[in-house]
């Protein structure tokens, strides 16, 4: 009897060790993938990454090609996208969390936002192509692309802002109402100052998704051969992600190195945005924790 028990125990001990090893291995595989991915790109793109590359326009000759137009285009698109989507997304979140009652319709709106966040980006590309490029006749312009991107990240911003708003203790709002403030005064003076950092984390992460996204831009037509900087909303433009796609699909090997260099630039931009976002989030969490204490 005792022997039997020990056997079972030993069996489970082995399973336990195996399972823990598997989980540990999965964890380290994530680190490994990231290291290999970043290392490979750094090795392939390091040699062609220089000042000339950053300040030149695209060219048919690999030694003259650069990504100035793409960097500037990405930057403009990010600003314009933020300008459109942040008020919409944050406003929708404020309405859903602070104003709306839990009616069936509001539940439907919330569910719909969840689902929109899962719609593949290429579908937004089709939407942008049909609605903005063709129907509203904006052409393959900076404005059309930014509108498309804004719709793409709208649900992400809304969900992140909703989560930030939910973290504010209810007693804060009630204290405001108790002093006779109106709904908007409470939001403006109590809630928003508290969640500003938390919301900006979500907004920055959403924007970093927008500058890395390329499928919708292929549809609405960000060009790769732009030898000028966009000067107006209706100008055509290029972005980094499309430039990377384009150079990767070239047959010549030299352009692949250029693609890797562009990836380094893109990842550096994303990294800066991410560091800002994570810093803001830590600040926000400490603030909320301090209040709850």
């Amino acid at each position: 009897m005792k022997n039997e028990f020990n056997k079972t125990k030993a069996k489970y001990a082995i399973f336990g060790v195996l399972f823990q090893t598997f989980c540990l291995a999965a964890n380290f595989s994530v680190i490994l993938f990231l290291v290999i991915l970043l290392g490979d790109i750094l090795i392939q793109g390091y040699s062609t990454l220089n000042w000339n590359f950053l300040t030149s326009y695209p060219s048919r000759f690999h030694d003259k090609a650069g990504i100035l137009a793409a960097i500037v285009g990405t930057f403009y698109m990010m600003l314009l996208t933020a300008f459109i989507s942040v008020p919409l997304g944050v406003g929708a979140a404020i309405y859903l969390e602070e104003y709306a009652r839990e009616t069936r319709f509001i539940r439907f709106v919330k569910l719909n936002i969840q689902n929109l966040a899962g719609v593949p980006s290429i579908i937004y590309g089709i939407l942008g192509l049909t609605l903005f490029v063709r129907f509203m006749d904006l052409g393959r312009s900076l404005l059309a692309a930014s509108l498309t991107m804004a719709l793409l990240i709208l649900p992400i911003i809304t969900i992140a802002s909703q989560e930030a708003l939910r973290a504010v203790p209810q007693s804060f709002r009630l204290a405001g109402y108790g002093l006779g403030l109106t709904r908007w005064q409470v939001i403006q003076h109590q809630v928003l100052p508290m969640v500003a950092t938390g919301m900006s984390t979500g907004v920055i992460l959403a924007l970093s998704r927008a500058i890395g996204e390329s499928a919708p831009l292929v549809m609405v037509g960000a060009l790769t051969y732009v030898a000028f900087l966009p000067s107006g909303l209706l100008d055509s433009f290029g972005v980094l992600s499309i430039q990377i796609y384009n150079w990767s699909s070239f047959p010549q090997k030299e352009f692949h190195a250029l693609a890797a260099s562009s990836i380094i630039v893109l990842l550096a931009m994303l990294f800066v945005l991410n560091v800002i976002a994570i810093g803001l989030r830590m600040y926000f969490q400490n603030k909320i924790r301090g209040i709850n204490r």
Binding site: A25, S29, L37, D40, Y95, Y99, R101, N115
Partner: protein
């Protein structure tokens, strides 16, 4: 919770004491301020939240409208059951099954990587890892999830494929394996973060009860905690599958553009998303039959991902309510 809520004290005290948020809000919502500013702000914000419904309506109506245009010229039945996808040239064969099978190949291949690894990572981080490890891994997973798909495509084409070709000479330049691998890697953060959230939602009391009856850690994890969180974990699997179905740039770059139904992971295939990109890169005139195919394929893609997402969000919502 107080039983006789209606009779005890004023509304605010009640609400604070029982933390019933919806009650306070419903009462305040009934008496909103009617000043112009308040009303203007409220209506503006409300219209913003309705925008999201508008987006969905636009997506659905545009896809349906233009897909119907295709089915006026090509029978819906042939579209859904045809096994040949030859959209270019004079005699078109528009059977979507090769594209669907290509998409499924990538989604299944990617799931083979992302589901076990994402699940393992989530269990490790929530159950075994030290605090330092957890705070090290969270940003790493976030960085991985923030890497653009086009970068994964580049990685598949110029790092994974050459490696596979070294292992096996039969692997073509464009193949389904390397695309599946990178799509799988890109989905790991999604699986691990949602699974970890589900596991963290399991109340500590359940875990402690399991230890109290003398179970060892392995049994507590696999027989108590994981089963308690299983709905959230399955939801994360479904979401990852849907993400892999909708994945675009990596498969466009790495998996090629040769629609077929051979289920051979060493040769090139084409997914629905890659086809849409292919059409929109070429100069297809608006109004031609090729042009309308992207709406039909897009509609198919939208419906598939929408159903999966719907199932997953419903499951997630349910488990959140269970452990509230």
């Amino acid at each position: 919770m107080v039983e006789n809520k209606e009779s005890s004290g004023n509304l605010l005290t009640q609400a604070v004491s029982c933390g019933d948020r919806s009650k306070v809000f419903s009462r305040f919502g009934q008496r909103p301020s009617y000043s112009f500013k308040e009303r203007a702000i409220r209506y503006t914000l409300r219209s913003f939240s309705w925008t999201t419904i508008g987006v969905t309506l636009f997506i659905v109506s545009i896809l349906f409208w233009d897909a119907i245009e295709l089915f006026r010229q090509y029978s819906l039945f042939d579209f859904l059951t045809g096994t040949k996808w030859e959209p270019f040239g004079e005699s078109k064969k528009l059977g979507i099954l090769p594209l669907v099978s290509g998409t499924l190949m990538i989604a299944i291949g990617a799931s083979l990587i992302s589901l076990p690894l994402g699940f393992g990572t989530a269990v490790y981080l929530t159950q075994y890892a030290s605090k330092q490890m957890d705070s090290l891994m969270t940003p790493i997973i976030e960085i991985l999830s923030g890497i653009p798909t086009v970068v994964f495509g580049y990685f598949a084409l110029f790092a994974v494929t050459p490696f596979l070709q070294k292992l096996n000479g039969n692997v073509e330049l464009f193949n389904a394996t390397s695309a599946s691998i990178v799509v799988g890697i890109s989905c790991i953060p999604l699986v691990s973060s949602i699974s970890a959230e589900a596991i963290r939602a399991v109340p500590l009391s359940i875990r402690n009860a399991a230890y109290a009856v003398g179970m060892n850690k392995f049994n507590v994890v696999t027989k108590v905690i994981v089963p308690s969180a299983i709905s959230g974990i399955i939801a994360s699997f479904i979401l990852a599958f849907a993400r892999a179905v909708g994945e675009t740039m990596a498969v466009t770059l790495a998996a090629g553009a040769s629609p077929n139904m051979e289920w051979n992971y060493f040769i090139g295939i084409q997914t629905m998303t890659a086809f849409i990109v292919q059409i929109s890169l070429g100069d297809t005139p608006a109004g031609s039959m090729e042009y309308y195919t992207i709406y039909a394929v897009g509609l198919m893609l939208f419906l598939i991902t929408f159903i999966f997402n719907m199932i997953a969000t419903t499951i997630i919502k349910r488990y959140r309510e269970i452990y509230k």
